[in-house]
């Protein structure tokens, strides 16, 4: 079995986000990590590898430094890594990104493609299903559990108040939720091997069956009109009451003032 896992290197937003003085995001000040949903997807692939001896290829699109995320994946146990990087691919929205990744995947053999549900920087959850659309594959999003039986995947597909047990014939694409499974750590030896491993690097010319008009900033149907640090609602009143009773009195007053009670 051959599995492709699509991963993305993202800034770690866990400890808060840092901004430049001009209000733009200070990406350099934030740690670059492998997107959590993608990591859960990679773990799912590695478990299938442990179980069935699958070959796991990780693929990412990004700046050359995104190779770090690929090395992390190799150090966790992935077998091969592909970096798609090219200046003409920059500024892509989800349409152009999925077009690019599909163009790269057309060069590879696979039974199963796993992507994360969404990345913590863009939070779009669009690239996975769009890759499936470009490749004409069945897609199962929001996987909270994933099993393989013969040539089929059996997935628990999460919805708001339920899940569906869904079966699809491979090849297909599954998008993974972080809940899918806690990812393993790298191993020290895996790290040393990963740093020596060769990472296949592809540019625009290596993409199969894609047109320039669908790539990069120019090939993106959506355009950013404005981006800014979020303007928040200002603080209201804050009191430090002398006693809890004073605090209670204050709240009750406000609630009656606003006709809540």
């Amino acid at each position: 079995m051959k599995i492709i896992v699509c991963i993305k290197q993202v800034p770690d937003t866990k400890g808060g986000v840092k901004f430049n003085p001009d209000g733009t995001l200070d990406r350099a000040a934030m740690l670059a990590i492998m997107n959590p949903d993608d990591k859960a997807g990679l773990e799912a692939a590695l478990r299938l590898k442990d179980q069935y001896g699958a070959e796991v290829t990780v693929l990412t699109m990004g700046l050359p430094k995104a190779a770090d995320a690929l090395r992390e994946a190799l150090a966790m146990g992935a077998d091969k890594a592909v970096l798609v990087t090219d200046r003409v691919l920059g500024g892509a929205d989800t349409w152009a990104t999925s077009t690019t990744i599909a163009g790269a995947i057309r060069n590879l053999d696979y039974d199963l493609i796993i992507t994360g549900r969404q990345a913590i920087d863009g939070d779009t959850a669009q690239v996975g299903p769009q890759i499936a659309e470009h490749l004409q594959l069945p897609v199962i999003s929001y996987a909270q559990d994933l099993k393989v039986e013969g040539d089929k995947v059996i997935v628990q597909r999460q919805y708001d108040d339920r899940y569906h047990v869904v079966e699809a014939k491979m090849p297909c694409l599954v998008t993974a939720l972080s809940e899918l499974n806690p990812p393993r750590y790298m191993t020290p030896g895996g790290i040393f091997d990963a740093c020596k491993a060769e990472i296949t690097t592809w540019g625009r010319a290596d993409l199969k069956d894609v047109e320039d008009c669908n790539l990069g900033l120019n090939g993106s149907p959506t355009k950013i009109a404005k981006a800014s640090d979020k303007v928040r609602k200002g603080a209201g009143e804050k009191i430090v009451p002398d006693s809890p009773s004073d605090g209670v009195k204050y709240i009750v007053e406000k609630l009656s003032e606003k006709h809540v009670i």
């Binding site: 090395r71 992390e72 150090a75 790298m186 020290p188 030896g189 790290i191 040393f192 990963a194 740093c195």
Partner: protein, 388 residues
């Protein structure tokens, strides 16, 4: 000359940091208070190869270098001194001598499972009457047919009751050296469960309280002849070689404890407000932190340098790393004690309270000035070298 870490070391640091934060840190307080050996953490470390970092892959190890191992002990010790010393004692004091002096059969039988973390290692040299002075050894080994018969006891043994494989030193005879009669010391590999090998007192310690420090007792304990490690009579050299390496591990532990205390103190002094401002806004705090950070950095340089020197030895056994190891341990241990003491002081009353970790770190730091050669022994090693 280059002070930047390469990619693999940066990645390894990230790994150890993440592991320490997620796995070791949440248990650190309980490990300390209940004197609980962190078996769960050790099992996870085994699974991820942390117990065989500098061992070649052919022996079940990770095939990494000494610096990677040092960073592992350092990061674990930042959050839990007990976890740091468990890895250090296992790797430096048990895995290393078997890797260096073991026969191919011994390596297959002991090194592989130790490096894979299937078994945990310990080292028994110290006795009630033989600490710094190895000649004070009382434990005896007598060859009887195909077996060595051990009698005696060892004390203060890290990983004591939790280990599976022990490197034990014992007197195997007498030799004359320059007219003086001296004890001939040899090294042995002893497995837990060997009849006649039992455990004595569990020590109730000031710090590193989860590390399972026990007395080992040998009463007519018979081990196979082939469990002699290295040549008969070479025990003292093996012990000294092993301790040179062990000192790098303990230096890494001391460094980690100091870094952990410094990190917490920086965070605390930013948060803690007195007289309407953070205490980090006071010059006394600032200067104290500056001194602490500078010393920690200097300790780190010495520890990493010793690691690189030992790495050189791996490919060229003529290289000695004894002085570098002694300097690293001496300095890092004293910095750990100083930094943790100042950390407690900067925390004020909270520093004296259990929840605030620096109190534990201060207790953990003290042992690094004592075990695997006291600071005084390190000064002897260093001065002997510069005065020769």
């Amino acid at each position: 000359m280059d002070f930047t870490l390469n990619k693999e070391h940066e990645m390894a640091r990230t790994l150890f940091k993440e592991f320490a934060e997620n796995e070791a840190k949440p248990l650190a307080q309980e490990v300390d208070e209940k004197e609980m050996f962190p078996r769960e953490t050790v099992d996870k470390m085994a699974k991820y190869g942390f117990l065989g970092i500098p061992v070649p892959k052919e022996f079940g190890g990770q095939g990494c270098d000494i610096l990677t191992y040092v960073m592992c002990v350092e990061e674990l010790s930042k959050v839990c001194g007990t976890s740091g010393v468990i890895v250090s004692a296992h790797t430096s004091l048990c895995v290393d001598p078997i890797m260096t002096f073991g026969t191919p059969e011994q390596k297959a039988k002991y090194l592989v499972p130790l490096a894979k973390g299937e078994k945990l290692g310990a080292f028994g040299l110290t006795e009630p009457g033989a600490g710094t002075d190895a000649q004070g050894q009382q434990t005896k080994a007598v060859l009887d047919g195909d077996e060595w018969v051990l009698n005696g006891s060892k004390c203060f043994i890290t990983n004591g009751k939790e280990a599976d494989v022990y490197v034990i030193f014992a007197v195997t005879g007498k030799i004359e050296k320059k007219g003086r009669v001296m004890k001939e010391i040899s090294a042995f590999i002893v497995e837990k469960g060997t009849p006649g090998f039992t455990f004595g007192t569990k020590e109730n310690k000031m710090g590193i309280r989860g590390s399972s420090t026990y007395e080992l007792i040998f009463t007519d304990c018979r081990i196979p002849k082939e469990n002699l490690l290295g040549q008969q009579g070479k025990g003292f050299n093996i012990a000294m070689h092993t301790l040179d390496g062990g000192r790098i591990g303990i230096a890494a532990q001391a460094l980690g404890i100091a870094e952990g205390a410094l990190e917490r103190t920086i965070a605390y002094t930013k948060e803690r407000k007195q007289f309407g401002k953070s205490i980090s806004a006071f010059q006394n705090t600032q200067f104290q932190l500056a001194d602490m950070a500078t010393k920690v950095e200097a300790a780190k340089m010495l520890v990493y340098k010793a690691a690189l020197k030992k790495q050189e030895y791996v490919t060229n056994p003529k290289v000695s790393y004894s002085v570098e190891a002694a300097m690293a341990k001496l300095y890092a241990a004293e910095v750990a004690m100083e930094v943790t003491t100042k950390a407690v002081q900067l925390h004020g009353g909270y520093g004296y309270i259990r929840e605030y970790e620096v109190e534990r770190m201060m207790r953990d730091a003290k042992i690094t000035e004592i075990y695997e050669g006291t600071s005084e022994v390190q000064r002897m090693v260093i001065s002997a070298n510069i005065l020769k």
